[in-house]
């Protein structure tokens, strides 16, 4: 992937109504990250968005481009270069995983030999090697999900759309699916757009999160890797916080760290470096105070996403 690649999905003013329901309401967004998580409550428009991207649903207005191609007009080319994993069960239950993958590969235009080879490859990649000859109907839900993922990859797409890939899985199956999805963009060079209503899933598998609410963009933010170790912190101590702050300020000043009260009545420290935190600890010990709480300041991804999903937050440009 290079920076000159077109966005995985890019849409402008996308709207679609089903009867009274406005599923998409003037959505304008571009997915440029290797893996983008589409987050939103049920009915926020995630599935409709994916169906428009696949050309299954025509938008009432607006345009949508997939890998730079018009989703409605260049359907054949989009089909060729995109894989899709639907949310609901969609596998022929009397076929084996191997047959499903070969069949789908053939339908997408691969020759028989290529189809068989690719089916083995992708089934191996999703960890379904030994069970691949059993009928899909006898699989656990996790295995069926992995078969669905395998068929989405069998023709070597540049982009895969995953609709709720962890839906209905038990913790172990969910863990495996998340690792697979993370690997797609990180190791296998496949661009990923995955929908979910669980932030944790998106944080662990994607580089960027896009929050939809009522069919419109509510937030778009990169998923921060790790946390900022030198960021501001809030300290809550036993006793009078003002007294503690007054004693702390001169000791932290040489380190270039400022002290200020927080709205919650705690002691705000402008930089939580190791040296600064050592000073806080030592002062608390000297004064015989209890250190009740020490937390990083700043609103995490979770706060932003929750606010966006509930319509409180402001749009944060990505």
């Amino acid at each position: 992937m290079t920076t000159t690649d077109p966005p995985a999905i890019e849409c402008t003013g996308l709207s679609r109504t089903f009867g009274e329901v406005r599923a998409l309401d003037g959505l304008t967004v571009a997915f440029t990250a290797p893996a983008t998580g589409l987050l939103g409550a049920n009915g926020a428009g995630k599935s409709t968005f994916m169906r428009v991207a696949l050309g299954l649903v025509r938008p009432d207005s607006g345009t949508l481009r997939v890998l730079g191609m018009d989703a409605a007009r260049e359907r054949d080319e989009v089909r060729r270069r995109v894989g899709f994993m639907p949310e609901h069960p969609c596998l022929p239950l009397d076929m084996s995983a191997q047959e499903v993958c070969v069949h789908l590969a053939r339908l997408r235009g691969l020759g028989h030999r290529d189809a068989v080879r690719r089916a083995s490859e992708v089934l191996f990649a999703v960890g379904l090697e030994e069970e691949r000859r059993r009928p899909v109907g006898t699989y656990s839900l996790g295995m069926q999900q992995r078969t669905k993922l395998a068929q989405a990859l069998v023709h070597g797409p540049e982009l895969v759309l995953l609709d709720e890939p962890t839906s209905g899985l038990d913790p172990a199956g969910r863990e495996e699916m998340l690792q697979l999805v993370r690997r797609l963009s990180r190791d296998l060079g496949v661009r990923v757009v995955t929908s979910s209503h669980v932030l944790d899933d998106v944080e662990r598998t994607c580089d960027e999160v896009v929050v939809l609410r009522a069919g419109a963009l509510a937030a778009q933010r990169p998923v921060a890797v790790g946390h900022d170790p030198g960021g501001a912190v809030h300290v809550r101590v036993g006793g009078d916080p003002a007294e503690f702050a007054a004693a702390l300020a001169p000791r932290l000043a040489p380190l270039g760290v400022r002290v200020a009260p927080t709205p919650a009545g705690d002691v705000g420290i402008s930089a939580g470096t190791d040296a600064a935190l050592d000073v806080v600890r030592d002062l608390a010990a000297e004064q015989g105070r209890a250190l009740v709480r020490l937390v990083a300041d700043g609103r995490g991804l979770e706060d932003v996403v929750l606010d966006a999903m509930e319509g409180r937050g402001e749009r944060t440009g990505g």
């Binding site: 609901h88 053939r106 339908l107 690719r118």
Partner: protein, 313 residues
């Protein structure tokens, strides 16, 4: 993208010595489902033209109703029907071949019209039970959203389904007739001469088979496209082909004329096919052909209408 990464697991569970019979590398402490990407690569080969995809769909559509690559149980009924369809032709061919004293041509024992007539019951049973699975399984398992999302267009799917049904029925209708034809060559005293004399039968056999196959395929698929449950499709089709003849005969008796017989959806095509293979005019004339064409067009229209406007769940 970097190329495929060859990764070798170094996670050998500690303290395993010998492992014992059947002891794999997965000890109790080994994590589940660790992925080692040694084979995955992006497919970069050229894709075949779309007709190759339709051909693959047709092949799958023919295999499924016959129970091929399925459990033994799912083969029983379709192969019983196949046996019933082929048995008359095979028998009249086998007897002169195996018993030299019998000096009679297979086509004298049973002609193409009789073969079509005796097979018509098998065709009805086959259309009722096997043809709907071309469509109903895909709807029941909700495979269509997968197909239409990234694999096939709706038009390709409808074409594939129609070709599957026609191929299946040709197997039942044309197959036995061809066995009879080839068997007659083999048992003839002068095979070359017999073939030269009768080669003109082949187009008529093919045409007659299509006359039987097309309306049945159209009707079977139309009924199947309206439901995701096979049993409903079977019932619906049987209702049409069992009630239709009774009604048409009833009307024929009431009006004291033969023309209502042309509206018999089960027997009508067979009568037409018999006329085609005999080179005789159809009993109910042009009206029978109009009904036949209407059946094919209406069946196809239902199928196209059903899949053309959505219904991918």
């Amino acid at each position: 993208m970097s190329g495929p990464v060859a990764e070798v697991s170094s996670e050998v569970p500690g303290g395993v010595s010998g492992g014992g019979a059947g002891g794999g590398p997965r000890g109790a402490g080994a994590p589940r489902a660790v992925l080692h990407d040694v084979r995955y690569s992006r497919f970069t080969g050229a894709l075949r033209p779309r007709r190759s995809a339709v051909a693959a769909l047709v092949a799958a559509g023919v295999r499924r109703p016959l129970g091929l690559r399925r459990s033994a149980g799912s083969k029983v009924w379709p192969f019983l029907l196949l046996a019933a369809a082929y048995l008359p032709a095979l028998a009249v061919v086998a007897v002169p071949l195996l018993v030299p004293q019998v000096d009679v041509q297979p086509t004298e024992l049973i002609g193409y019209p009789q073969l079509l007539a005796t097979n018509s019951v098998v065709v009805l049973a086959f259309v009722a039970t096997a043809v709907p699975t071309v469509l109903t399984r895909d709807r029941r398992d909700r495979v269509l959203s997968l197909y239409f999302a990234t694999a096939l267009s709706r038009a390709e799917y409808v074409l594939g389904a129609a070709l599957s049904a026609v191929s299946l029925l040709l197997l039942i209708v044309l197959g036995p007739a061809l066995v009879l034809f080839v068997g007659s060559i083999a048992t003839a005293g002068d095979p070359g001469g017999w073939f030269a004399e009768h080669v003109g039968d082949l187009p008529r056999i093919l045409l007659a088979s299509l006359v039987v196959v097309l309306p049945n395929a159209a009707l079977g698929l139309a009924v199947a496209s309206l439901t995701s449950r096979r049993i409903v499709a079977v019932g619906g089709y049987l209702a049409v082909v069992l009630v239709g003849p009774v009604l048409s005969r009833l009307v024929a008796v009431v009006v004291e004329a033969d023309w209502p017989l042309a509206f018999d959806p089960a027997g009508g095509p067979v009568l037409l096919a018999t006329a085609v293979v005999d080179g005789a005019p159809a009993p109910q004339g042009a009206l029978a052909w109009v009904v036949w064409a209407a059946l094919v067009v209406a069946g196809s229209a239902v199928l196209v209408g059903r899949y053309g406007r959505g219904g991918d769940a």
